[in-house]
Symmetry: C4
Subunit: 353 residues, 4 copies
């Protein structure tokens, strides 16, 4: 079967994963309204392509936090890659390195960060984390990834508690015994820490803990999980380096607006003072184009990476990224843009007849 | 089968009730447009969650008519609980007491109010009633429930005549012979009173009868069935203590707007002078959150309580309430609110791209 | 099977008519968009019911062209009733008489106007007609019905040519040989007149022919088939007595707006100078309520009458009318109105959250 | 089977073409959103028909670039007609000639332009082309068609690269070996030219190449593939003779707005200085009417012509055109217009209740 578009990988993954694993990766919270609306929202946004603009040379590169990526799509954080492919996150890391884009490693990866770095020594990576109740543990994690050359910390702020995902509850989902959260090996201080505490944030944290994080690291901090202009302005005021507009793939609070619908008010409020990224619902190159036209500097994909892993590990993820890169280049040129700098809001139809 | 969300109870009830009883409880008027729109309307409303606000401590309690409930969801009035579970309304009352919330007993309960009070002596209860043509009978009912410690009278005003529910007509639905309207035992004066007259209001009543009711009772009066700002303002002017925005679960006039769509104009018109509640269509914790964000002080659920009864009587209703309480707490904290006082209209997205 | 609502009659008719006859009656033009939107449009309009208004006495009567009807629903013109029931239009006429409402007889009835009048001598009737190329024939028709006591002429203006109804073409639909257009027996002068010419209007007619019609009759003239404020104003200026907002049940120009969507601009333009009626898509009492709230003085039903005929002839049509009358009374009282004079635009929700 | 409307031909073609050929002709880019929305958009636009305007004489003729057509529907450019019918484009040309309308011949026709002209010597034709990297080749093509009496050049500007059509990729679609691009026989200079280069434009071209084209031909130039007012204004400023509002039938950039939704801003920007045409989604006469009401001077159809070819070659295309002509005449007269000059924006309902 030819893998032509990202949904081909989705079909493959659904057929080849166990029901429990498929349910885990595809889960949305509650009624899955937000998970699904993340995709549908793109279909409600229409493009206004321009013509006759010499698109013989096209350049999909972008710069994120001062570093050049080959195209404006990175790999968002998802957990448990060993559930999808035996090599787990090391395969993901090699694919991201091969495509020269960013890989946001999950704290709850099933390979250790050392293994990940060893697998793709030249890859550009950010580290997704939460602030634990045990601040010493948090600090150790930060020091560990900083030492390994991670380029930024992505602080997840929409997970003070775990979202309610029906099928995971029905399946009594848990990590199989042969897999572990390797990033905590040798680190933890408190014997009493609940495994679940590795996933969710200390629910008490506020912007004060962002300051604390800034005090213990020299890495840039990116806040992941902002959906309002109010929080975006606070992010700017608290001197973080970026925002990922995200609703956690619809896995946390069901009923939030789609990320692409939240983007524009955030971009308008931030006024270019920091970079704004987005994840959730990206499935085609024209989705990427729409997100950039509405002001995202870069977008990140989650589930499609897992599908790629299920298909063929590193090679599968590379295929997923390459398809999206090719589609993005095609959408960009067919809309009359030669490079990401030429993509702007005029490409979007705001009202119709 | 794990009962994870309220629709699990709905499926169970549909499978275990007789068709006639299921049709009775699930009925909507005419084409059932309003019954269904009550639910769909929530899906059209999008949330704007806030982050990094210390939600380590969360408090779902609220105060209704000066009394504290454990969370802002009460049990709305539905009839004939003995059709759903052999213990009928006594089971419902015990569940409401256990969860420390309000139970609005229906006049047409199949247990007597005395039995209900005896079953859950510490429960907080309101009594749903209509004004009968026979005012003396009406007065006797009021005196009876006032003496039993009911805390308010909920006057149903949207039922001067019975709505047209197709399947009830096709099934020639009536209460089975072993069940009765026990609240009228020993009360009625007029031998000629039609049994149907226990359900529907005297269609002639106006705000004048509200005054009359105020003159014969010291209980607060809550008007149930208001859908417009005009009537809400009249309610304030006639010194009632609260309003339940309701379309009778879509069982009366088909084609009315959904209750959540009616709420905002009523809240704006009432300007906080009296408390505004709502019923209809609440199925998840985020529905509760949306209703509170739009100004409801508390919401009430009807059919889900019946489903809980069908499942396991008192225990089933407790499960239903507990699920909704947990979901509401989660939705509240995931939206950045620590307590109901922090829930406000900023949580709602009013327009999109 | 209990006949509870109008769609019950539709199901019955579909099962009992030949495919060709069913296709004829149910036909819409082209893609049937307008036929279907006539119904769907009502579902997009929401009611704002009022409460506590003493609806113990309710009165569904209305006055149309100075004559009292028992409720604001008349029988619109449809052809070929003998295809639906052996007694044809005589059965329809008796039902309309029994319910004390208006019956707009079609020119292309399969009973003669004399038979119709004889069958229901006390019925109130209007006569639907077109202006033929043969003005003498037209005049003879007018004189014939005027002499028979018809109370108004309903001039169809949306049928200069026959709409394109796919299934009628596929079925090569024509009137069966045992049926005829009896209203032309003994009248026609020109042997060359094409039978099709009995149905469609002379396409050349303009408001000038309306003047001509006024010159040959003392009957009020109602224009049927107006969908714009511009034509409504012209109707007023040309001194006709009424307008039927109609798109011919979606059988003529596909893609027009639904009649209920066209109504409001027409009512606003007419400013009460003449009466405005409507047909198309009425299936429930709340549809009638919405049309009256938006300014229609009376509505007319077409296909449901045919379904009633198929079911049980006169009795079936009476059942259809009675159901609609009961539903309208219920919707009126449940919205807080005692009579048609109290129905107004405040019952309609014009915008939502 | 009676062929009543254009979708009848679509069903026939789907049943009789090979899957690969059907997939080729029906293909849309990516998720086919735009391909499908081109049709759906017409259903969202409502007509306001006028009555009593003497439509006894109706005239569907229009004038395009100073030449009279029998009705405002031409044949848009589609490739590979020999895949649909053994006589290919010669059959299409004869049908267009018979109906006296315009046939835009595709550069990638499977009959040569000489064969096409010979088959229908009196037909009115435009030639669809792109500017190749090999300007000498381009010039030879232009000279060839100019010499043959083609009346305008239609420059496709939305195809700097080929759109991504999933099924064509899956099917590894290519022209069967017995067919060829006959228009390049004897012309090409560069042995290295990739066959794909015959289809797509030199992606480097800008309005400068439009000037160059004007310098080598005396034919009018029509720009095909404009979707924005900005590019429409540029077209006027660069002295072209017309615009075809087109998204290439949804085969190029998926996610663009439907052509009928793009039309109005273009018409408003062009202000009548040049003629504006449209293709995409036209399936009925009322679609044509809506496009003209919104300002198109003429519309063009693509896939329906192919379906007609599959059905019966020239005769099938004639049937398709005749049906659309009859439907357009009917829609025009039923909306109260006698000729295309009377069609205007007042026919369109811009907002509803």
């Amino acid at each position: 079967m030819a893998m032509v578009c990202l949904t081909d990988f989705e079909k493959y993954a659904k057929e080849h994963l166990s029901k429990t694993a498929w349910d885990y990766f595809s889960a949305g919270a509650d009624e899955c309204y937000t998970r699904d609306d993340n995709l549908l929202a793109y279909k409600r946004i229409h493009l206004r392509p321009r013509v006759l603009r010499d698109v013989s040379e096209s350049d999909t590169r972008t710069t994120v936090q001062g570093t050049e990526f080959s195209f404006p799509v990175g790999i968002s954080t998802t957990a448990y890659h060993c559930l999808a492919w035996h090599e787990g996150e090391t395969a993901t890391a090699r694919a991201a390195e091969a495509l020269n884009t960013c890989y946001i490693t999950s704290t709850t990866s099933t390979c250790s960060v050392e293994e990940i770095v060893a697998a793709a020594p030249n890859g550009y990576r950010w580290f997704q984390m939460v602030v634990y109740q045990d601040r010493r543990l948090t600090e150790q994690v930060v020091q560990r990834v900083e030492a390994l050359g991670y380029k930024a910390l992505v602080l997840t702020v929409d997970m003070p508690y775990l979202g309610k995902r029906h099928n995971n509850i029905r399946n009594q989902f848990k990590l199989p015994p042969h897999l572990q959260f390797k990033n905590f090996n040798g680190l933890q201080k408190q014997a009493t820490v609940d495994p679940k505490a590795y996933i969710t944030s200390d629910p008490s944290i506020t912007w004060k803990e962002v300051h604390w994080l800034q005090s213990i690291t020299s890495l840039p901090i990116i806040i992941k999980g902002i959906l309002t202009k109010e929080d975006a302005v606070l992010a700017v005021e608290h001197s973080v380096q970026g925002i990922i507009v995200s609703n956690h793939g619809g896995r946390q609070l069901d009923g939030t607006l789609a990320t692409i619908d939240a983007l524009i008010e955030i971009v308008d409020a931030v006024k270019g003072r920091i970079e704004v990224y987005l994840d959730g619902g990206i499935r085609t190159g024209s989705d990427v184009l729409k997100a950039l036209a509405l002001g995202a500097k870069c977008v990140f994909i989650g589930r499609p990476v897992v599908w790629g892993l299920v298909y063929k590990g590193e090679e599968g993820v590379r295929e997923v990224l390459q398809i999206l890169k090719d589609e993005f280049r095609l959408a960009m040129t067919l809309s009359g843009c030669r490079n990401v700098a030429e993509i702007n809001r005029n490409l979007i139809q705001f009202s119709k007849l």
